[in-house]
Subunit: 353 residues, 2 copies
Amino acid sequence: MLNQTPEQTRTQAARPARLELMAAIETRLSGFLTQERARWAEVDHRCLVPVDAVADLVAAGGKRWRPAFCVSGFLAAGGPEALTGIVLDAAAAVELVHAAALLHDDVLDDSPLRRGTPTAHTKHAAAHAAKGWLGESRRFGEGTAILAGDLAMVYAGRLTAALPPAARPVWDDMLTEIQVGQYLDMAVAAECVVDSQLSRWVAVCKSGRYSIHRPLLLGAAIAGRPELAGGFAEYGEALGEAFQLRDDLIDTFGDSTATGKPVGSDLAQHKMTLLLAMACGRDDRLRALVAERDWDVEAIRGRLLAVGAQDEIERRIDDLVRRARAAIGRADLPAGWRDELTDMAAEVAYRDR
Amino acid sequence: MLNQTPEQTRTQAARPARLELMAAIETRLSGFLTQERARWAEVDHRCLVPVDAVADLVAAGGKRWRPAFCVSGFLAAGGPEALTGIVLDAAAAVELVHAAALLHDDVLDDSPLRRGTPTAHTKHAAAHAAKGWLGESRRFGEGTAILAGDLAMVYAGRLTAALPPAARPVWDDMLTEIQVGQYLDMAVAAECVVDSQLSRWVAVCKSGRYSIHRPLLLGAAIAGRPELAGGFAEYGEALGEAFQLRDDLIDTFGDSTATGKPVGSDLAQHKMTLLLAMACGRDDRLRALVAERDWDVEAIRGRLLAVGAQDEIERRIDDLVRRARAAIGRADLPAGWRDELTDMAAEVAYRDR
């Protein structure tokens, strides 16, 4: 370590630097939520229910990809030490936005499981029924999850109050896209729209941009390096699509013990996933199956296997990872961070291995 | 108007100054939402559904008390011309927070009407059924309202990005209290809690602080006059309670043509309103009626009439208005603004006359 400039040291220590910030994010999240608990416990013990619904979901795990890309964008861009507090808060906020989206999304999809435990609306509907409270248990459970999701969004807003003006548009775009993308996803499934362009847009908007591209740009914008936006966008969009395709593969062909959430729910909910849209583009029989109003899920899954959709999607993922890596290879970043983001691409795209 | 300083002119023109800003808020709100419409129309016509759900609710009316108190707090505190844009955005944001709360609250309560038209979840559930789309109509309608409410919150966040740091805690507290207060309101009704202290806290938190006190303080904080917080809090808390009691009177004894929303829903939903909690404190028979698990709504309403609850609450409102006016009379404000806030107190407290 002799004769090295501080910058070189930092460059070579990309992963430790990232992991150090990731640990600090956990401390920040739990510290913030503990403080909120203490504040509301003074009013009435019932006030803790929505706070705990947020805290429990955050504590239940999740891979923290979004905060990881946020702090990586910041560190790779050489963000100054003085702004570390801002990026930590922003990364914690990104995770809270994700928690809010999950709490509401699980109501929209009526999902029973999340991160290996019952979803908030399921749990609180069951508690309502068990205690014989007044009113409809379903409405009470869903109401609790709606308000807990709202609270998580409020917390995310509080943690991003000091965001530098240059980072604000990235944050605003991400939040707006999540809501509109979520609605589009729900509407396209309800209306049985078979339009692979539109499905691709939903996947890019909901998954790619919000999971990778926007958090990465947010970190770079906090660091004051807007010129990295182009390369990060290219990396983020390619990797985001790979991320979504992996999600589709897991949901269509995976097993639920590994994921902590039910599998097969996309097909059961008539969701035109990117995987399905791509396969339909190459096979008339599959197209005919999804054109039916009532889906024969087993027939669709069988046909996907028969036409080799798994292999096709794996090849597509490989190609997207190559493109993401090439984009990062051309970006003006320290070598250590180029390597780190290259490694992260594989971890995201092949996260079930 | 000769021989007057600019300050005197402004002081005497309190109401015109407020009305001018109120008109500017409408322009800001509709301009912002029109821009969002244009942006999303390019992606897919379906994206307009959540945007329009927000825009339609905002356009359907409402009395705009919250933005009115926000700009009044700013103008009364002598907020500088240069910050007018900030306070307009903040006041528009306050109205969007209210829209978000209404969209979600109507799902929680399953309310059919709002501002004289069908609520968003009711309308979109009906559209889903009429078009024979896939899935459950109730879930689709409620999902649309959930996402539209989320979008309104995102818009409110975008409009408050430039809030001065001194105003941030007021904003943050308001948003957090709304969510926790809303949950507490729902839980207390479900659990049949008869606790007038707790009911009062819910009323103060949900209605007083969020409708009057916090918007007023927000305006004053933007103007840079934190020393007004004490007087404004006293005024806002008293008037907020009067506002809530008027709401309770309208819901318990009013008629729905005047309000644009159903009346009698509080009792039907087993809500321990402030009105009911106060009346229970003075009458054993009423207390016995609300201690029942299944409420006999007509018996409760009859008993409220028999014990003279209407008159009692009217006297309490008179008293609260006097207290609010006394607090504003002691505040360090220009005479014109003292008069204006005194008039506004009567408009809020006697808004059905």
